[in-house]
Symmetry: C2
Subunit: 167 residues, 2 copies
DNA sequence: AAAAAAAGTTAGGCATACCTTACTTTCACG
DNA sequence: CGTGAAAGTAAGGTATGCCTAACTTTTTTT
């Protein structure tokens, strides 16, 4: 049991941002963290001290910042949550990328492991189950604008779907 | 445009709780609010003063608490979000009620209007589209345990689905 | 290598949102 | 009707998380 439930949303965000900066530039600089987080440089220092004290980053004043193994683990977990939520909102709910990303960002902290696993499963299921799939998501998009179509259209849709799986 | 985005998550929770207490008992008492929120009685007073000052509740020290029209509107909005999320996590993702409720509670503050509307649409779509529906959710549940079934099972599933819509 | 610019830190402030303890009001019942 | 328990409030404390302004360190530029 990784006891990181103690991390605040804000600190989770910091870890996520540090990970993404590490990926992009090998190390994270306070200025870039501030920029990505939308906070001022001064606000970053305190957060870094906090994370360092929790053993999640390597931090020496006036030097570069990297994640520890423990920090990396958490950052990956958050990033994964973010990614799945993004996929759900963008690919399944068909929200535009920007909005999907922003809502993923806000929800990622509220998802527990089990709910997350279910959501992952659901995204996979929609991708793999012949009754769902990409074209089904497109149907959903149409549904959002016009509601359910004529019965014949539905019958047709299902007939095609049926045919496809018999190949 | 109802400018209540300024409300903190905590205050949104207070409104939601007050609404549910009003429904149950016509008025909300500070003690019950404290109990439902899982905070101490003393913490409630400050929140109530804050809400009163924002014009969202009728509040006189030592007397009962009711929502103003503005407060009612927000409380209903939050409650609606909660309900939809609950439905999604319980009926579609098939999480048990308790967990679905707790995750709904945590996510409800992060949902914006548009994402909410999409999710509402999706829940409706899953209920109405012949390719989805209750039995499809059951398939999902099986998928969670065992993954996608044999091809023949899928073909069979779709054949039945097809037959149903031709009735 | 010195000065200027950029990056980072520190210190002090503010708002939220809890807590606890002590005090006040209300209400119910004897 | 008056008193004690329950409900409510007030005051003061803690932690988070942001801000600004002033200061220090580092890096760049000439």
């Amino acid at each position: 049991m990784t006891e990181y439930s103690a991390l605040s949303e804000s600190l989770e965000d910091y870890l996520e941002v540090i990970l993404s900066l590490e990926k992009a530039s090998r190390v994270a600089r306070a200025k870039d963290i501030a920029e990505k987080m939308g906070v001022k440089r001064g606000s970053v220092t305190g957060a870094l001290q906090n994370l360092a004290q929790k053993g999640l980053i390597h931090y020496e004043p006036y030097s570069f910042i990297t994640l520890t193994e423990a920090g990396k683990k958490i950052a990956h977990e958050i990033t994964r949550r973010h990614g799945i939520l993004l996929e759900f909102f963008a690919d399944i709910l068909r929200l535009d990328l920007k909005r999907a990303d922003s809502v993923a960002c806000r929800l990622e902290h509220g998802m527990d492991r089990e709910s997350m696993d279910r959501l992952i499963g659901f995204v996979q299921f929609v991708n793999q189950c012949p009754r769902a799939g990409k074209d089904w998501s497109t149907r959903f998009q149409e549904f959002c604008g016009k509601g359910l179509p004529e019965k014949e259209v539905c019958q047709d849709c299902l007939a095609q779907c049926h045919a496809r799986v018999q190949e």
